[in-house]
Amino acid sequence: MDFRINPENEDLLERAKIYAKEILAPRAQKIDEEGIFPRENFDDLAREGFTSLTLPKELGGRDLYEDTATYSMVLYELSKGCTNTAMLFHMHSSISHVITYLGTDAQKRRYGEIIRGGKIIASYASENTSSLHGVWRMETKAIRDGDVYRINGRKYFCSMAGEADYYVLWVQLEEEENLTKSLGLLIAPSDNPGFKIDQEWNSFAMRGTISHSMIYDDVKIPVEDLVGRGGDPIRPDVLPKFGFGYSAVYLGAGGGAFDWVVDYAQTRKLMPDNVPIATYPAIQRQIGEMKIALEGAILMLQRAGWMINAHGADKAYGAINEAKYVCAEASAFITEKALKVAGGPGLFRHNPLQRFHREARAGLIMPPNTEKCLELTAKTVLEGSANVLGS
């Protein structure tokens, strides 16, 4: 057994910590309050080579999806600086990986260059909401018309809508109902005239992800911009990679809140005691609870990351679910407890605690949510396996 971060990628983790503190954190409040896209952060991360990390080495990347445990810790560290940026970074990075994982040589070269050039690729997939027990559905259809696909449909919660340089479209390629054969991944520059942004994202949490709704109004995309074949994106060796990083990002909100409140407890003094509140046993007890919750969540995250590489994403599905549950719950628990420890000042908008607290709420809700995780986990126990699509 060896719990060390892969030494080959340790530098990335160190750099992520530095970028989080020096680049992301100072801009985080503005991004949150104004609900703006963290363009500057992306440019800075691109300049440092971070937006190509998940590209294969031959395309100038670090192939970081081959070391998912470290990848998740990089996300976690970035998220402690700015949850929004980490989330978008993950979306960009996971789709970057999948394009080169599934793509043709020509596509690899082409998108490799685009990504290395600092362009941002956005990934989204939400359609009309499905029930907890429902199977995946895809109402947006792509109809082949000569050399192009023509696409019409509506999507919800489209992160980076209006801001990414390229959009990724999840569509149904034919009329066939069986998504494992027909679900396709298309890429198009965001200036395609068929993209219409429909509704303003004004949310309580994750405001910098600007996840508007979008309408595809007869979007035409050349057939060569189809990545992989129908069904590939939801292959059990592909799909989990999209979801796994969320857990790391949301846990970052808990980690950020924890760091903040420890620092706070060590400096905050109340009249007339005039000693740091960190000396009060009731505060210590709660910091102990937070610390242990955080450690457990980090380990569950690393374990799932390690399993993806050691046993394959399909075999890691149970561990990924468990990590999502533990990370989301730990982050919610830690941010709530941190508020209690901080008292009134924790509510102030100029302190980041309230931001972390809100971001953690999105963690509880974003798929797979708490209930779904529990259901899927129960199935691994009761039936010995969980379906990748969770149906």
């Binding site: 009309n128 909401t129 499905s130 029930s131 907890l132 027990h133 429902g134 199977v135 559905r137 919800y156 919660f157 004004n202 949310s203 309580f204 949490a205 994750m206 109340l270 009249m271 007339p272 005691d273 509140i277 009060y280 009731a282 919610a332 709530e336 508020l339 209690k340 901080a342 008292g343 009134g344 924790g346 509510l347 102030f348 908008r349 100029h350 309230q354 931001r355 607290h357 809100r358 709420r361 999105a362 509880l364 809700i365 974003m366 949510n369 708490t370 209930e371």
Partner: protein, 391 residues
């Protein structure tokens, strides 16, 4: 045993519920988002006589603090519509009641008449934060100068700063160190020279209370506006009554989230099931938990109010502490559960759920805080005589 509400004031509670639904709820989101005082709601409350609730009947009031159960239920109802309005009206109503208790005859008449004509009183007690093992420290000073007093000091968490017509300050006569002897209340016209707002209330919860800081620099106030003689100025029932009202108001955020989520669960349908999510067992379970938490908190508040009425403040303090704890934890857990049930849509700012959730976070930290309540509940058990002060 008789758990019926006093029939005399039942209509008032109903009326509060109506105003909450018809008026307060209409402005609540806007005031929250713009971080402004709910002026429209307050004006409506003035018109309907709700700013006179605690005035004697001879001044057109309802003397409502003589029936603490109804008092709490009225504010609980108002809070379901707008937590900010209910909280600030509670501050006004309570301080008015205390003011008249301490005033001499001339003052009593003058203040009561002002209130009868719609004047709003803000109560400003907050100074630098005190430790859980608290002794109140007052640094704001009043120096006699002829027929006037000169006030110097700074106050925090001054609800309705810039909005109330009169600020009621706690200050210490210059040259007197002993609180019991030197504590006075100064009633200041908000337009007096020397009053400034050095920092604004900018928080993620209770955003409409205008709880800015207020600085007083050589503010000159006529001697007739100095209230109290040292005798009884630390009436044992002042702080408990504030705390009891907080419990009722904060629980309002929980109640509102329950109402909202029940309505949502009965309407929201997910594909492909196409039945209301209220029919899913996992949803029902959580709504059941919310409802039970709510009922428990409500009866704890009512019991504390009843003890206050029948046995006096000193006996009531432990009950009020327990009610505040239970109500705060209930509001926090109810709003968190509601967010989980609602999923993505619950995060959107065009729905009030995220507001209820944020406001409930103030419940956890506003005095008496969770920790303070636990400490007091414990000391009440461990030695029957330590449970006096609650903030």
């Amino acid at each position: 045993m008789d758990l019926r509400i006093n029939p005399k004031n039942e209509a008032l509670i109903e009326q509060a519920g109506e105003i909450a639904r018809d008026v307060l709820a209409r402005y609540a989101d806007e005031c929250d988002q713009e971080q402004r005082f709910p002026r429209e709601s307050f004006d409506a409350l003035i018109r309907e006589g709700f700013t006179r609730l605690t005035l004697p009947e001879s001044y057109g009031g309802r003397a409502l603090w003589s029936d603490p159960v109804c008092y709490t239920m009225v504010f609980h109802e108002l809070s379901k519509g707008c937590t900010n309005t209910a909280m600030t009206l509670h501050m006004h109503s309570s301080i008015l009641y205390f003011l008249l208790t301490l005033s001499d005859e001339e003052q009593k008449h003058r203040f009561a008449e002002a209130a009868q004509n719609g004047a709003i009183f803000g109560s400003h007690a907050g100074e630098a934060a005190s430790s859980p093992q608290w002794n109140r420290t007052i640094t704001t000073r009043a120096r006699k100068d002829g027929e006037e007093y000169v006030i110097n000091g700074q106050k925090y968490f001054c609800s309705m700063a810039g909005e109330a017509d009169h600020y009621v300050l706690w200050c210490l006569l210059e040259g007197v160190e002993e609180l019991q002897a030197g504590l006075r209340w100064a009633v200041l016209d908000k337009n007096l020279a020397g009053i400034t707002i050095p920092s604004r209330w900018d928080a993620f919860a209770m955003r409409g209370t205008a709880s800015h800081a207020l600085a007083y620099e050589d503010v000159r106030v006529p001697a007739r506006n100095i209230v109290g003689t040292g005798e009884g100025i630390l009436q044992p029932d002042f702080v408990p009554r504030f705390g009891l009202g907080y419990a009722a108001v904060y629980l309002g955020a929980g109640a509102a989230s329950l109402d909202w989520i029940v309505d949502y669960a009965l309407k929201r349908k997910l594909l492909p099931d196409n039945v209301p999510i209220a029919s899913y067992p996992a949803i029902q379970r959580q709504i059941g938990e919310m409802k039970i938490a709510y009922e428990t908190a409500l009866i704890m508040i009512q019991k504390a109010a009843w003890v206050l009425e029948t046995q006096g403040a000193e006996k009531a303090i432990p009950f009020i502490n327990e009610a505040k704890y239970t109500a705060s934890e209930a509001a926090a857990s109810m709003t968190e559960k509601a967010l989980k049930i609602a999923g993505g849509p619950g995060l959107l700012n065009d729905k009030p759920l995220q507001r209820f959730h944020r406001d409930a976070r103030a419940a956890l930290v506003m005095p008496p805080s969770t920790e303070k309540c636990l400490q007091m509940a414990s000391s009440f058990v461990l030695s029957q005589n330590e449970a006096k002060s609650i903030f």
